[in-house]
Amino acid sequence: MNPVNYLYLAALLFTIGASGVLIRRNAIVLFMCVELMLNACNLALVAFSRMHGNLDGQIIAFFTMVVAAAEVVVGLAIIVSLFRTRHSASVDDASLMKL
């Protein structure tokens, strides 16, 4: 298959993820959308890696996974503590500070 198609897929996934961030309210879902964007990046990286015939892209993908994991740890901690305080995981509820 034409490697470019992988890139289209990656772009599509990335856009879906981004749209999800913009549309969804639940912090967890939002967060999952961000993860989707990261994975879209991974896909692109791996595809490029293959195109260029070096491993850099794939290694970065591994790093990305680790970073994503770390983000999950930190992110969930924050989201959970917010949920416990507010009894709501909607990011729209957290709008005390504005203007």
Binding site: A44, V67, I78
Partner: protein, 550 residues
């Protein structure tokens, strides 16, 4: 580039029998500043695990200060050893640059961090709870505010001493960020300093709802932006076939020597490079707080515990601008004609929007947040100069700006009423009558922000504008002075409020802090004045440090 390809290029050698895996060549001594901080951070985690609760605070503070001090000593030693100028080079197999801008910014970050740690460690501002001195951080961040478990934690005298290792980790990330010499390191460093900051935002003792909200917003938007950054990395990698700065630069310039067919195919596709570059730029502009990627700034600055805000405002900006400079000057100079107009637009919008929106703010911390946005615009004007003067002016500006910022936020921590810090501007009315010294100090910081001569703010602004004008960006200078004039309005408004309004009867009081915060403020004032009156030495430093290693 080749070194990176050599490390990662296992694909090609896997078929051969493995006799010896060549160990990567790491110049540990030259990476000492970062390594010391990382080491201290890990040690600090261990301290959390093993040192008894009562003495943790002291051990942590000592450890942090000691680590930062020795890291700074290492930076100075490296700089003295010529690594900032003649011996500047790329270390760690191409991953990290040891050169003038990196060392200068690392020095600034470490100093800013050290001063911030003083404010983190401040325990005299809030009244003691159950006989225990408390700082700005929650007794137990995990417990729900107002719950039994929190009360129990307060009663037991718990404190979130984890802030120190978190801060150290963040510093470590920041130290790498401006020195990162490939896109992967850039990304990792970004995450290393961002994640601890998200957490630090969430652990305020008072007004935890806002603190948590700030953390959530910061985290989600930060993650969102880093996804963009990563996608940009992917595209640029796709374009150049490498993530190494030097290699990408070569490909962009077309000076690359050996072109394989795949590279030839992608090189032809400029859209990859342009879109990828724009996405990376966006990731960095987010951290810098440039319009329209600035919207997290006011909310996060307001919600985060004030010492953290000060730290974040100063150190993050330094690190992010360092990375931005390196990206634009080392990786993308060949694309100058593409990114300069765009950055012009960003700088203009940032300067104006920051200044204009700040005019109607009513909260000191939000006000300072918008002011930081405007300042980001001024610094961008220097970035656009694309000259060595541009680099040195930005370096100088960052030095000047970071200390003023930390000092200003430190003063904000002092003004308190029953509900904690009194950040609403109306409560600051008449502060100058009640506490002339505090108000005067804050006024000095505000004047520096406003860029009044004889303060560091003026020297910095002048340096940046001069570089911009010499770089042919005269129009930016004009916009800059216009927005400075607008900005002056709200700084002046605060001064008016403090000095010319009658104090309110139930107004806040100024708490006398411990020597820690006093030191932080005093350093801020000293730097402000010295850089305003006799900046030559520091300009020299910045000037010598303005060459990037490639």
């Amino acid at each position: 580039m080749s070194s990176l390809t050599a490390v990662h290029g296992l694909w090609a050698v896997a078929a051969d029998p493995v006799e010896r895996i060549p160990a990567p060549h790491i110049e540990y001594a030259q990476l000492a500043p970062t390594l010391i901080v990382v080491g201290a951070a890990i040690l600090a985690v261990l301290v959390e695990a093993f040192v008894p609760r009562t003495s943790r605070y002291y051990v942590q503070v000592f450890l942090s200060v000691a680590a930062l001090a020795s890291a700074f000593a290492a930076v100075v030693a490296l700089a003295a050893g010529g690594y900032g100028s003649t011996k500047a080079h790329i270390a760690a197999m191409g991953a990290i640059a040891v050169d003038g801008p990196a060392l200068f910014l690392q020095g600034v970050i470490i100093l800013a961090a050290a001063v911030s740690v003083f404010t983190f460690a401040e325990r005299r501002l809030d009244p003691a709870a159950h006989g225990n001195r408390v700082d700005s951080f929650a007794a137990q961040a995990a417990s729900v505010p107002g719950s039994d478990s929190e009360r129990a934690a307060v009663k037991a005298g718990f404190t979130t001493t984890e802030v120190f290792p978190l801060a150290l980790f963040a510093v470590a990330g920041m130290l790498i960020f401006p020195a990162a010499n490939d896109l992967l390191t850039l990304f990792v460093a970004l995450e290393v300093f961002s994640l601890p900051l998200y957490l630090l935002c969430a652990v305020a003792r008072r007004q935890r709802l806002m603190s948590q909200e700030a953390a959530v917003k910061y985290f989600l938007l930060g993650a969102f932006s880093s996804a963009f950054l990563l996608f940009g990395i992917a595209l640029v990698y796709g374009y150049a076939g490498s993530v190494s700065y030097a290699r990408i630069a070569d490909v962009v310039d077309g000076t690359v020597t050996s072109v394989d067919p795949a590279l030839a195919g992608t090189m032809g596709n400029d859209a990859l490079l342009l879109i990828g570059g724009a996405l990376i730029l966006m990731g960095l502009l987010f951290k810098v707080g440039a319009v329209p990627f600035h919207m997290w700034t006011p909310d996060v600055y307001q919600g985060a515990p004030t010492p953290v805000t000060g730290f974040m405002a100063a150190a993050t900006k330094v690190a992010a601008f360092g990375a931005l400079l390196r990206l634009l000057y080392v990786v993308l100079p060949g694309l100058r004609w593409d990114w300069r107009p765009v950055m012009w637009g960003v700088a203009i919008v940032t300067m104006l929007a920051g200044a204009v929106i700040a005019v109607t703010q009513t909260d000191v911390k939000r006000l300072l947040a918008y002011s930081s946005i405007a300042h980001a615009g001024f610094i961008l004007a220097g970035v656009i100069a694309t000259s060595e003067e541009g680099v040195s002016s930005v370096l100088f500006y960052l030095l000047a700006y970071s200390f003023v910022t930390i000092g200003a936020f430190a003063v904000v921590t002092l003004v308190r009423d029953a509900g904690g810090e009194a950040t609403h501007l109306s409560k600051w009315a008449g502060l100058g009558r009640r506490s002339p010294l505090t108000a005067a100090v804050f006024a000095v910081f505000l004047l520096a922000f406003a860029g009044i001569p004889l303060t560091s703010g003026f020297s910095g602004k002048f340096a940046v504008f001069k570089a911009a004008a010499e770089g042919g960006a005269g129009a930016l200078v004009v916009v800059g002075v216009i927005s400075s004039a607008i900005a002056a309005f709200f700084y002046i408004r605060v001064i008016v409020l403090m000095f010319f309004s009658e104090p309110k009867a139930d107004g806040p009081t100024v708490t006398v802090p411990s020597p820690l915060t006093m030191t932080a403020i005093a350093v801020g004032v000293a730097v402000t004045v010295v850089l305003g009156v006799a900046p030559q030495y520091f300009l020299d430093l910045a000037g010598q440090a303005s060459t990037f290693a490639r």
